[in-house]
């Protein structure tokens, strides 16, 4: 297991890093989209309330 172990470690680290970075990026985008959806819904509710007045 010792021969060329270092580069095997680099290979697996690189693969997992790419997956983890992508998953974090997706999660951050999900949160941003949900925040934006809430904001737009609130804005729409405010507009509807204003229109009823």
């Amino acid at each position: 297991m010792d021969r060329n172990f270092e580069y095997m470690f680099y290979g697996f680290t690189a693969a997992w890093l790419i997956v983890i970075i992508y998953v974090i990026w997706i999660a951050l985008r999900e949160r941003r989209l949900r925040d934006e959806l809430d904001r737009v819904k609130r804005m729409l509710e405010d507009q509807e309330r204003e229109a009823k007045k």
């Binding site: 297991m1 010792d2 095997m8 290979g11 790419i18 997706i26 729409l44 507009q47």
Partner: protein, 227 residues
């Protein structure tokens, strides 16, 4: 329903990957000439196979858009291509790391690696183009065409080790006419293909859900502006 499926696929993929890593590191012996670094192949090959499969599915989704003009197919194609691109990047990076120790160089301009690099550049262009075009149907039409062109390059990448003499190793697995792997070394490879497929499907479903949220935001905005 979609959330439950995402969770189920993620858990199954995670469990299978953990079990595979246990097998790869503790059960599979070192390869005689390469030593421990050959284990990179257990990520390199599944990432390549699954990303290429996804690129093809995305191409068909694009073709269905061209026939139906339904933007849902274009959104699905974009989501699939994005996830496939991430895994194609894993293939390239793990291949470079393996090449550094086995060939003594990070990169070789041989037909397999060069055509693969061109493939990644085409999909990078695909995402840049999508960002640059605002009109949804024009964006979808051009994306579908680019997806078809990139798929031609995928076939070249796939067959390049048979058509040309390459620095990249020729077919290894028996199913492609290679010499095969020692007993017990091949099975974890196919289990990893399955694990990667499940992981990619889960990620694609998440991206498609995000696109639904994005569409909802846009339609609510249009409604708000109508006031």
């Amino acid at each position: 329903m979609r959330t439950k499926l995402i969770i189920l696929l993620s858990v199954l993929a995670g469990g299978l990957l953990a079990w595979n890593l246990h097998t790869i590191f503790l059960k599979v012996p070192d390869e005689a000439s390469q030593g421990a670094v050959f284990r990179v192949f257990y990520f390199h090959f599944p990432a390549a196979v699954t990303s290429f499969s996804c690129f093809f599915v995305a191409m068909f989704s694009g073709l269905v858009y061209l026939r139906t003009r339904n933007l849902r197919y274009d959104a699905a194609a974009a989501a699939i291509n994005e996830v496939a691109f991430t895994f194609a990047l894993i293939t390239l990076i793990t291949g470079m790391i393996w090449g550094r120790i086995i060939w003594g160089i990070w990169w070789a301009w041989d037909p397999r690696i060069t055509s693969y690099f061109i493939c990644l550049l085409m999909y990078f262009g695909y995402f840049m183009m999508r960002r640059a075009i605002d009109e949804p149907h024009r964006r979808a039409r051009l994306s579908a065409v680019l997806s078809v062109l990139a798929s031609v390059d995928i076939v070249i990448v796939w067959k390049s080790i048979e058509w040309f003499r390459t620095q990249h190793p020729g077919p290894v697995l028996e199913i492609r006419g290679g010499g095969g792997m020692a007993p017990g070394m091949e099975a974890p490879l196919f289990w990893n293909v399955l694990a990667f497929l499940m992981l990619e499907t889960a990620l694609i479903l998440v991206r498609m859900r995000q696109q639904s949220i994005q569409s909802e935001i846009e339609s609510l905005r249009r409604y708000a502006h109508a006031f």
